[in-house]
Symmetry: C2
Subunit: 143 residues, 2 copies
Amino acid sequence: MDDLFEPENSCVALHLRRLSRVVTRRYEDALRPLNLKSFQFSALVALSRRETIAQTNLAKAFGMDVSTLNRNLKPLVARGAIEIASNPKDGRVRLIKITSAGLKLLDQAMPLWEAAQAEALGRLEPEAWPDLRRGMNKLLDTD
Amino acid sequence: MDDLFEPENSCVALHLRRLSRVVTRRYEDALRPLNLKSFQFSALVALSRRETIAQTNLAKAFGMDVSTLNRNLKPLVARGAIEIASNPKDGRVRLIKITSAGLKLLDQAMPLWEAAQAEALGRLEPEAWPDLRRGMNKLLDTD
DNA sequence: TTTAGTTGATTGCATATGCAATCAACATTA
DNA sequence: TAATGTTGATTGCATATGCAATCAACTAAA
């Protein structure tokens, strides 16, 4: 597998994208019984600890274009797991809010996610994930 | 930014996906003058060292579903950068081949990619990327 | 306060991603 | 060889991704 890439194709983006594909697939396998995608799960987690979040801020947190976020939220709205409210202070802003149905869904999803997360972390030496995160953060930092 | 995620959202998939989004965007910024996407560049690199590759093998190398690969190749075909040939030994197999136009395009792309790659690696300590790759490979390995 | 600039949301367009289902071609077995 | 199984490609469907352009709403400057 790697023989196709090394050494000619040492592209950082390529390796990150490939890994993200493979790992995402495992998490989505785990969440499939609830018909939940990886992004949807993480959005629910982020929302579950706050009253509301502005769309822009959520997009920033996900390192994602606002237009992408905007569309990715739609399935959760359709499903009744989140709601979009307006900000009375600023008519432009859309505030995202998790519903009680969304909280219940998150409860059901949590053990499925935990299994996938344990499987992923189990592949690494102890402490390897924090190390990886440190390296990843250097690649992530905004100039 | 991270405050939205830590410590509640420690999901490995989430962090990989976010990083892959952010880094991919930088590479695609660099390649934009040639109207080349990150995947397209890497596909050309992989093809440039071989006569042909079967679609299935290329998909495997990219850790990508065959149907995804199949569709992702179409813009390169439309552009004349690659060709699809049949395998006389097996009528099912599609062999992918880079064209001379594809090689020329790759030549033009290489310095643009190198700039993005240098920028990415420049964010890390020396030797940090190989370390990262080792950790990433553990997450990647097929059970 | 009008004007000009800025910011947030949305939509069109093009590519990315994977699953399930289907069809065609090859391989195996009865 | 005929029946069965397997493998490769493709398409439908749903979601993911970002850029450019547009519109609406707020803000700052004239």
